[in-house]
């Protein structure tokens, strides 16, 4: 079990729901300030997006952020370099599409990510069946590889994915790309299917845009992942302050949910 998963399990064991925030690396010159603000406001882990030209799993918000970051000349190297100035206390996971690592070199990518303080990766177009080379590289550098489980995933695949995923299992709430529709959708069902076969922490993502949704999702899972809602604030020029406010809303909502259950 990799470090990140031990940490995340520990949070669950402490009875606290996990809030994961997504940020696009390089989208603004001061993008790491947003990440810091989010950490300050209470996220438990951060996904760091590395922009890709063809983000097949992302809706319009993250697409725009990627485009903006690319226009600014953002690369794996630049994101990792920026991370040097980020003071962080929570796990960071790189999120991008496989071609970015494939092109940079798997071994080289994993090494760079690890030395830059990242502890895992999420690659939405890299399904289990194709993941072996990347997992091997990640293993070598202690990086966790997170897998997604979808509402359409068959029980037999849920078992294999739950077994393979490291850090947590990413339960996608709906059959949609990021930032498309909102609500907790099939999240509960997906989480249940994972819990049936594994004890890995399981967070609901895709479509969580309001505190209420986050609260509802957290109630039936170990945590929630918020992406487009945060990125939208940045695209709208909200700044670290805007991020702080929004993260606090989510934090409060899921904590309240826990209390009410407890």
């Amino acid at each position: 079990m990799k470090v990140v998963e031990r940490d995340l399990r520990a949070i669950r064991d402490a009875g606290r729901k996990v809030l994961v925030g997504y940020f696009m690396g390089g989208v603004t010159p001061d993008w790491t300030d947003h990440v810091e603000a989010a950490i300050l406001a209470g996220v438990d882990a951060v996904e760091i997006g590395i922009p890709f030209s063809d983000p097949m799993m992302d809706g319009i918000v993250i697409q725009q952020a990627a485009l903006r970051a690319l226009d600014r000349g953002t690369t794996v190297d630049s994101v990792c370099a920026d991370l040097e100035r980020l003071r962080h206390t929570v796990p960071l996971l790189a999120m991008t599409y496989y071609n970015v690592f494939h092109h940079y070199g798997l071994e080289r990518s994993a090494g760079l990510l690890a030395t830059s303080g990242l502890s895992g990766t999420i690659v939405p177009d890299l399904p289990l069946e194709e993941a072996t080379p990347w997992r091997t590289a990640c293993d070598e550098h202690g990086l966790a590889t997170v897998f997604l489980v979808a509402p359409s995933t068959t029980p037999e695949r849920v078992r294999r994915l739950a077994e393979a995923t490291e850090g947590f299992a990413y339960a996608t709430a709906r059959m949609a790309v990021t930032g498309r529709s909102s609500g907790t959708g099939d999240g509960e069902r997906v989480v249940a299917s994972i819990r049936l076969v594994s004890s890995v922490p399981t967070y609901i993502g895709i479509g969580i845009t309001t505190g209420e949704q986050a609260q509802a999702a957290a109630t039936v899972s170990d945590g929630v992942i918020v992406g487009s809602a945060l990125v939208q604030v940045i695209l709208d020029g909200g700044g670290p302050r805007g991020i702080e406010d929004l993260v606090r809303t989510f934090r409060t909502a899921i904590d309240r949910g826990t209390e009410s259950v407890a």
Binding site: M56, G59, A150, V177
Partner: protein, 394 residues
């Protein structure tokens, strides 16, 4: 080179052709890809399905398409040139072969809707056509830039009852239309089939589309025998995603014929690309030094794709097929050449293959050798553009 009898067979269990192919899709789509693979395997070994596929190709799409001996052009170039006439297939290109297969499969899977991506509109029109024939609902994703450039094809699809959705993301062209179709497919994969337009995408698409297009090559091999010519020295086809090339190559892969794919110089994934992962497959792609996909640029919208089907990447790697780029400037000349010597106005895509033959006759194509050109489509769709460009030139 390995034993010739082993080329262009089915991919391996992971959907790989050598080092290329595979299935790089979001988890949400994995079950659909698996289901599709099973459905295709079952259908393709079911004589009822195969018979209906052949019946529809014959009765609806106009197959077999003929092989035309290009007598005057042969005289001019000093090679014995034959053209496989996919331009005569319904909707004007080979694209119809694939969509007939896929729409029949859609119905067999109990789905009642198809989505498709399109660049210039050829595959979109073909899909809308095949969908109309079966009464399937059809939505076509098309880059916004292309919907403006190809407004008539948009209207054509609408006439055929399809909905055309302009894609405003990314470069607003073909590759973004593929992305968007994939994104949409995620949301409706239960009742909707994604009818991909070339030998690309995740397994089983590259294999399935090649199988549906291999009718071209099988017919052609038979027809060349009937004409008393037999196996040609070379088989030449243009390559965008690579479906018409794969289709005709399939009939000659296990012969001594040289297999030649002609890419647009501005989108030459074999010559100018490197291995990468896009649109569900590992293949050769044009990309920058950071792995960002570049936009392809070609005079012909149908070759404006930054990748190539994985089986071609494999055939190139093992040396069974060769790929050459042709620049825009040679394409117009080739289009005019075939038009005025043979009375056939080729599609700009197909004109790439003509241009290569015209250039290499007497060089890579020895004088007197027999050459089979895959005339993948007709040029009617391009006439307005060609006119504008020729007027500009003069």
């Amino acid at each position: 080179m390995t034993d010739p009898a082993t080329f262009m067979t089915a991919p391996d269990g992971e959907g790989r052709f050598g080092n290329f192919g595979g299935r790089f899709v979001p988890e949400a789509l994995m079950p659909a890809c698996v289901e599709l693979e099973e459905a295709f395997r079952s259908a393709w070994s079911d004589p009822t399905f195969v018979d209906e596929y052949h019946r529809v190709l014959r009765e609806f799409a106009g197959r077999p398409t003929p092989i035309t001996p290009l007598e005057r052009l042969s005289d001019k170039l000093g090679v014995q040139l034959f053209a496989k006439r996919e331009d005569l297939a319904h909707t004007g290109s080979h694209k119809i072969n694939n969509v007939i297969g896929q729409t029949l499969l859609t119905r067999r899977m109990g789905k009642h809707r198809v989505i498709a991506e399109t660049g210039a509109g050829q595959h979109g029109v073909a899909t809308a056509t095949a969908a109309a024939r079966l009464g399937l609902t059809c939505t076509v994703y098309m880059g916004e830039v292309d919907t403006v450039r190809q407004a008539l094809n948009v209207f054509r699809m609408e006439l055929l009852g399809a909905t055309v959705v302009p894609v405003t993301s990314g470069s607003k062209t073909l590759k973004d239309a593929v992305n968007e179709a994939m994104r949409e497919w995620v949301t409706c994969v239960d009742d909707t089939h994604y009818c991909i337009g070339s030998v690309m995408g995740p397994h089983p698409f590259p294999w399935m589309v090649r199988e549906f297009q291999s009718i071209i090559g099988h017919e052609a091999a038979h027809q060349m025998d009937e004409l008393g010519v037999g196996t040609p020295a070379a088989v030449v086809a243009c390559v965008g995603g690579g479906s018409n090339a794969a289709g005709i190559f399939a009939g000659f892969a296990n012969t001594r014929a040289r297999l030649i794919g002609v890419e647009a110089a501005g989108g030459a994934a074999v010559v100018g690309g490197s291995p990468g992962v896009l649109h569900g497959m590992r293949s050769l792609l044009i990309q920058d030094e950071f792995g960002q996909i570049k936009e392809a640029h070609s005079i012909s919208a149908g070759l404006d794709y930054p990748g190539i089907g994985p089986e071609h990447a494999h055939l190139a790697e093992i040396g069974r097929a060769e790929y050459f780029p042709i620049g825009d400037e040679d394409v117009l000349d080739a289009l005019a050449l075939l038009s005025e010597t043979e009375g056939i106005i080729p599609a700009l895509e197909s004109a790439h293959a003509v241009a290569w033959i015209a250039r290499e006759a007497g060089h890579l194509l020895p004088t007197g050798s027999t050459v089979l050109l895959n005339l993948s489509g007709r040029g009617d769709k391009d006439v307005a553009q060609v006119r504008a460009m020729m007027t500009e030139q003069s």
